[in-house]
């Protein structure tokens, strides 16, 4: 990402469309992979190389979604990039703070429910989405 990216041939609308199509494709792959893995692996199955590899399969599509966002950041104009970068930082700090705090509560209190680390991903993107809308959508 350089300071001259905003002069690229691609327009902001084209960049947004490309991002949506990339994320949509990765989301379809993710849903398909989750259903496929759930069908192949049962709760009581022994841990094998196959089950570990299969469980990692949906993660590939999560990585593709993150890469789509990275690409979008490089294609959007500089004002949008500024706001989205701030939203990403706020989301990262919020989720880091919450996850770290909850982890300590879990560590020292057996009565508290264990939250799977998996939920860090949707929590991060949930906070990022809300903050990005608030920052980029505001009038002044």
């Amino acid at each position: 990402m350089s300071a001259t990216d905003q002069f690229a041939e691609i327009t902001p609308k084209q960049a947004a469309k490309k991002y949506v199509s990339r994320v949509f494709g990765a989301s379809l792959g993710y849903i398909g992979a989750v259903f496929g893995v759930s069908f192949l692996i049962d709760d009581g199955d022994p841990v094998t190389v196959f089950t570990i590899m299969a469980a990692l399969l949906p993660g590939i599509f999560i990585v593709l979604m993150v890469l789509a966002l990275w690409k979008y950041l490089s294609e959007m104009d500089e004002v949008a990039r500024h706001d989205h970068s701030r939203a990403l930082l706020i989301a990262a700090f919020t989720v880091l703070g919450l996850a770290g705090s909850w982890g300590l509560v879990e560590l020292y209190n057996d009565a508290f429910p264990r939250i799977p680390v998996f939920f860090v991903y949707p929590a991060f993107f949930g906070v990022y989405g809300i903050v990005a809308c608030m920052l980029y959508g505001r009038k002044a």
Binding site: T4, Q6, F7, P12, D77, V79, H82, K139, A140
Partner: protein, 68 residues
Amino acid sequence: MENRLKELRAERGWSQAALGEHLNISRQSVNAIETGRYDPSLPLAFRIARLFDKPIEAIFDDGQAAAE
């Protein structure tokens, strides 16, 4: 930093979306610059200046010119 972008855009009868198309930025981004919420980078400031055929300091004012 204050700027005359809204005034110059109005002189040409352009909407924020139209100016955005000339600069290859979104309407929301034009709004953010006009309202002073975002100060453009030097390359974008040059692009704006060239579009309106004016020097950068005729469009953007950091408030230091009068003080000097």
